[in-house]
């Protein structure tokens, strides 16, 4: 079960919208597939990210994967804890393992994301 109040990408990122701000991370499914996360590379505050373009990289012991932004916007906060505790992505992907917060540029983009039911259907087929 994934949180029902979030929106999702087909690439396994989630976004939590609170007013003008979107908090972004990766799902428990993604974390499980990656295995033990040992490194997360994130943009600095002030940088812009574009919807469905890469905004960073997450690395497990074995694999390197791109992170894709669910929405466009300016980065207003970065989870600094991940620099020293990247394992939070595995232990609490929807909570302490969040990655960045952006100020949403175009709220209409949220319509292009999956809801929880659609995302669960996607991972069930994977």
């Amino acid at each position: 079960m994934v949180p029902s109040d979030l929106r999702y990408t087909k690439d396994h990122e989630w976004v939590r919208v609170e007013g003008e701000t979107a908090t972004i991370g990766v799902t428990d499914f993604a974390a499980g597939q990656l295995g033990d996360v040992v490194f997360v590379d994130l943009p600095v505050v002030g940088r812009s990210v574009d919807q469905f373009a890469t905004f960073g990289v997450v690395e497990s012991v074995k694999a390197v994967s791109d992170l894709y932004a669910p929405v466009s916007g300016e980065v207003v906060d970065v989870n600094g804890n991940l620099a020293t505790k990247p394992e939070l992505v595995n232990s609490d992907p929807f909570g302490e393992g969040w990655m960045i917060r952006v100020e949403i540029g175009d709220a209409a983009q949220l319509g292009e994301l999956l809801d929880a039911a659609a995302y669960e259907k996607l991972t069930a087929e994977a």
Partner: protein, 396 residues
């Protein structure tokens, strides 16, 4: 998130990770892959299965970090049945192998083993091997899974003219390893062999849990441990016996992912990463394996003698990444503005808790203490050349 930047196929032992790489487990290409006798055991343990060297193999069970730590602190169980087991027997077996390989198996006492390589005439490495002497005229050559058929064919051809025959028992053998500081205490009560008399790089024939086995004190993890060769059909049985005996000692199942991080910390080469046909033993810092002075000719001698004389044109080094990033297979390595080489293997070291790598660099850039840069996604990240291995177990 699904798109891997490093293709799993470039780092054979390591293809964990992205969903696309793991879906072979369920269906599709699985039919064309060999499966070990332990496949049902792996599935029951919830292993993530991947293609490796033509085999469907477990890459991880509980997680690579857990499994890695288990081997360093306690012990881990590995299914290595994908490896190739080639028996060479006959009056000329020693001479024939000495002519086929770069080492000299004739110098082995019965019951001892040596690291070796089979090279092409140009000195390029066809595979790296362990050669065990089982009797005066009987040897066991263990080849990497992905090269087993090539080595078997090449060795059979090189034995031509000698009174020696090759028996490829790769598909008739299960190979299970127990590796780690507590391996001996777990295996000891199960076997009639006196393990205290079985030295590192020795092999003996005995019984393990009532199963006839060749027990070798060899491994690929940097820890003490044993590799057990048994009949194909007894693979699951011996695994289960070891798993039960090891439960109290904290022994867990370990996959190829942990095997790769363990061997990398131990500075051991992986064929396809540090070794290939374009690489010779001297490049890899393994010139000591090549016995240029042994009696008789051997395949690759002229080329290897020339390389030994002139010096290799690249050098395998250890790197500790001091900047922010993880060096991976294929990433370029620079010395200042100049490209000096390429990373062959790299990961976050679970034991040292920092990124480590092996890389080929120009010989002059390979002195420990040299500061180089690894290009991580087009950004130079600082790395220092360090002596190999990264990790050496304390022998008490």
């Amino acid at each position: 998130m699904t798109k891997p930047l490093t293709e799993p196929v470039t780092e054979p032992a390591t293809a964990a990770g992205p969903p696309a790489a793991t879906s072979v487990a369920a269906e599709g290409p699985a039919e064309q892959l060999h499966q070990t006798a332990l496949i049902d055991v792996h599935r029951a343990l919830g292993a993530r299965l991947i293609e490796f060297g033509g085999w469907l193999m477990p890459v991880q069970y509980t997680g690579i970090l857990d499994e890695h730590r288990a081997v360093r602190e306690r012990a881990g169980l590995f299914d290595l049945s994908h490896m190739g087991e080639l028996y060479v027997e006959g009056e000329d077996a020693g001479d024939a192998l000495a002519a086929a390989l770069v080492s000299d198996p004739r110098t082995l006492a019965v019951g001892r083993a040596q690291y070796s390589m089979i090279c092409a005439t140009d000195g390029g490495v066809i595979d790296d091997l362990i050669v065990y002497r089982l009797g005066p005229e009987r040897f066991l050559v263990v080849a990497n899974a992905g090269n087993a058929t090539i080595v078997s064919d090449e060795l059979a051809s090189r034995l031509g003219g000698w009174r020696a025959v090759l028996d490829d028992r790769s598909l008739a053998t299960s190979l299970v390893a127990i590796q780690g500081p507590r391996a001996a205490e777990v295996l000891g009560p199960l076997t009639d062999l006196d393990l205290s008399a079985l030295r590192y790089y020795a092999i003996a024939e005995g019984q393990v849990a009532g199963i006839p086995a060749l027990v070798a004190r060899t491994g690929y993890t940097g820890e003490d441990g044993f590799e057990l060769f048994v009949d194909w059909a007894r693979g699951a049985e011996i695994w289960t016996a070891l798993a039960s005996a090891g439960e109290g000692a904290g022994v867990i199942a370990c996959g190829l992912g942990a095997r790769d991080t363990l061997r990398l910390e131990a500075g051991m080469p992986l064929y396809g990463n540090e070794l290939d046909r374009e690489t010779n033993p001297f490049d890899a810092g393994l010139g000591r394996v090549v016995k240029l002075d042994k009696p008789g000719d051997f395949v690759g001698r002229d080329a290897l003698a020339r390389i030994a004389n002139e010096g290799p044109d690249k050098r395998l080094v250890g790197l500790v990444v001091t900047g922010r990033g993880i060096a991976r297979h294929g990433y370029p390595v620079d010395a200042g503005e100049r490209r000096t080489g390429v990373v062959t293997s790299g990961t976050q070291s679970p034991t040292l808790a920092k990124p480590i790598a092996m890389a080929y660099v120009a010989p002059d850039d390979g002195e420990p203490g040299t500061i180089l840069a690894v290009e991580v996604r087009e950004q130079p990240v600082s790395a220092e050349v360090v002596p190999l291995p990264f990790y050496k177990r304390s022998t008490t």
